[in-house]
Amino acid sequence: MSIYAYLVAGYLVLIGSYGIVRSRHMVHAVVSLSVAQGGTYVLLLAVGYQRGATAPVFGSTTKPSTDVVDPVVQAMTLTDIVVSATVTALLLALAVQVNKRHGTVDPDELAALKG
């Protein structure tokens, strides 16, 4: 168990990259990229987790203590999620244009010897 969460995070990055490598559709590649990004979320939160600790949000009555999970990794994950969403949007927009210009979004058909 001790490293299972980290391994799942690594697996997400790898399976996402694998998806790009074998992709036959640019949208599929972009979606796979966002799966790879999901790995970084899991890694971040796993690193900040503490068994038995609560969320880092205090009520107006509860006494603040440091017995909470790490808020810093959560803040970074939030940032990361926004970045991922916006990058995905941008890449999808580009994919739409690639399709308009080439009539295909299959990397195998797009690839040409550039030299």
Partner: protein, 607 residues
């Protein structure tokens, strides 16, 4: 800490963002002239502020903790902006180059309204943020900002089919690199619980270089190496450059790519400098740099699409810069810094001239353009001046860089690298000179059929950046002149070498960086650098490169005469060229192969 110069640090990042927001909101209602002026004024103001900051860093680093979270007993929750002379110098280069490209792009892209300007300003903010931030996570955030603006600028000519495709591949490969960087950051964070560079440096000082430390380093630098277009992370660069608008290419090649190297070196000196042995890193960086320089120059010579040719030249020269910096001495870093400055002027000018040719003649193909720019005296002079700056003919800034590098390289015990420097400069500049002679002077046999062997390499078929201009506006020429003169000034200004060597000495003082940021320790005094100036050997090598470049140009112009020599070279290049497929899956596969190679280079000797 006295003075108010550190107040400028966040302004350099925030000001372009605020103006860009204004342009997004009000741009559609503003006349084009106002939009242009506003963007240029902003870039100029940032340039001036960066210059002030550079002067102020002469007496030590400038630190600004955001949010007022000053460190207490060297620990804090806040984020610092830190400027040493190298960071401030790069900030100045970034802003000056952006100003030039904005001036050049006056009258450009009517159909994108104010969006082009907003994107360039966001791009400017991202680059400034990357060099000035003293926080690892923010380096990645600004890296992504730079990336997002960069992908959009690459694909902004949506009618050009290779532009959108190049932008998409650029986006996917760079984002993946950034995610790996982030993963590396998290691995490191798990161990030390810090994110600010000075604090990380504290935490890793005298820390054994175990698997976690090495893995985090390798993963974090992957993102930067992708941006720096080191082999085998370089594939996105020619695709993106070949179709991005010329002013955008000038920014990419002139400074963005080099910022990748900055990231690697900053990270090493401040954070990992006292755990990973320099000798170990030097070997890894040398391998990367040499491979990049060789592949870039060999690929460069075979191109006929001018922008693709220049793109591979950039790859080759960034490889050279990496080789100089890999010496990991003040001389080496200083030489690399000077070379970056000199190279920025040269390559940006060449891209902007190519943009003019494309606009005028509707092509960026050196065979299509054969003799079509005859009589354009001003452009001709500028083109050849920039080409000579690229080859490193004294007294251009690139030559001064080489001159100082000679000392660094010889004293580090790698004399064979001098041959590499000369050859790579000569081959790339030879290709540039060859195309210039064809386009401006109609030298050599006229091409019989310009679309010959289209399967061999990419032709220069490209959409114009903007509608055809009747005559070259003075603003465009002015921008090019400033760039060429800038490249010259770097070499000619008195004490240039000495100043840069001192900046480099400050740069590699990682513990000084931490001390000054965390406990306001006074800066350590700097040494004199008598060797950081022109040397006879360096000048000789510059002249030799130039002569060889002319030879290579002739070889390119009259290939029939030397067929025996060229045949085996062309045959040898074939499999290498075949790797540049434009297939995003290939690029990602190479990315992982590259990470594996880097991990082996850095990690295996430490086992």
């Amino acid at each position: 800490m006295h003075g108010t110069a550190q107040l400028l640090l966040p302004v350099l990042v925030a000001a372009p963002i605020l103006v860009a927001c204004l342009l997004v909101a009000a741009g559609p209602f503003l006349p084009r002239r106002i939009v242009d002026s506003l963007a240029i004024a902003t870039a100029l103001a940032v340039t001036a502020a960066a210059a002030l900051l550079l002067v102020a860093t002469g007496s030590g680093r400038r630190v600004s903790w955001s949010g007022g979270w000053q460190p207490v007993r060297r620990v804090t929750v806040g984020i610092p902006f830190v400027a040493d002379p190298v960071a401030a110098g790069l900030a100045l280069l970034i802003a000056a180059l952006t100003t030039c490209t904005l001036v050049y792009a006056w009258h450009y892209f009517d159909e994108t309204e104010s969006h082009l300007h907003a994107l360039i300003l966001f791009f400017l903010a991202g680059m400034e943020g990357l060099v000035l931030t003293g926080d690892l996570f923010d380096m990645i955030v600004f890296f992504e900002l730079m990336g997002v603006a960069g992908y959009a600028l690459t694909g902004i000519k949506v009618e050009d089919e290779s532009a959108v495709e190049g932008a998409l591949n650029f986006g996917i490969v760079n984002s993946l690199g950034a995610y790996l960087s982030l993963a590396g950051l998290v691995v490191l964070y798990a161990r030390v619980g810090k994110l600010d560079l000075p604090g990380l440096g504290d935490a890793l000082a005298h820390h054994p270089p175990d698997a976690l430390v090495v893995a985090s380093f390798v993963l974090i630098v992957t993102g930067f190496l992708v941006k720096a277009a080191m082999v085998p992370f370089h594939f996105w660069l020619p695709d993106a450059h070949a179709s991005a608008p010329a002013p955008v290419c000038a920014l990419f090649s002139g400074v963005m790519v080099e910022l990748g190297l900055y990231g690697v070196l900053r990270l090493f000196w401040v954070v990992y400098g006292e755990t990973i042995p320099p000798a170990d890193l030097r070997r890894a960086l040398l391998v990367l740099g040499v491979a990049t320089a060789v592949l870039g120059s060999a690929m460069c010579f075979g191109q006929r699409h001018l922008k693709r040719l220049l793109a591979f030249s950039t790859i080759a020269h960034v490889g050279l810069i990496m080789v100089m910096a890999a010496m990991l001495t003040p001389d080496g870093i200083g030489a690399a810094g000077l070379y970056v400055l000199g190279h920025a002027g040269a390559i940006s000018a060449l891209f902007l001239i190519t943009g003019l040719l494309l606009n005028r003649h509707g092509s960026a193909d050196e065979l299509d353009l054969f003799g079509r720019a005859r009589g354009e005296r001003v452009l001709l002079v500028l083109f050849f001046a920039a080409a000579l700056a690229l080859v490193g003919l004294p007294p251009f800034g690139t030559a001064l860089g080489v001159s100082i590098a000679v000392h660094a390289i010889v004293s580090a015990g790698y004399p064979w690298i001098l041959a590499l420097l000369v050859l790579v400069s000569a081959v790339t500049a030879g290709a540039v000179l060859r195309s210039g002679m064809r386009v401006f002077l109609a030298v050599g046999p006229a091409p019989e059929h310009s679309q010959s062997a289209p399967d061999e390499t990419t032709t220069g078929d490209e959409e114009r950046d903007t509608r055809p201009l009747q005559r070259t506006p003075g603003t465009m020429l002015a921008a090019i002149v400033v760039l060429v003169l800038g490249s010259l000034a770097v070499g000619v200004l008195p004490h240039g070498g000495e100043v840069v060597a001192k900046a480099a000495e400050r740069f590699i003082d990682g513990s000084g960086y931490s001390d000054q940021a965390l406990s306001s320790a006074p800066p350590t005094p700097l040494h004199a650098h008598p060797a950081a100036t022109w040397s006879p050997l360096g000048v000789g090598l510059g002249v030799l490169s130039t002569l060889l470049a002319l030879g290579f140009a002739a070889l390119g112009l009259w290939p029939d005469r030397l067929r025996l020599l060229l045949r085996p070279m062309q045959a040898g290049m074939k499999p290498v060229r075949a790797l540049h497929t434009g297939h995003v899956g290939d690029y990602v596969a190479w990315l992982f192969a590259g990470v594996a190679a880097l991990a082996a280079l850095v990690g295996l000797p430490l086992l």
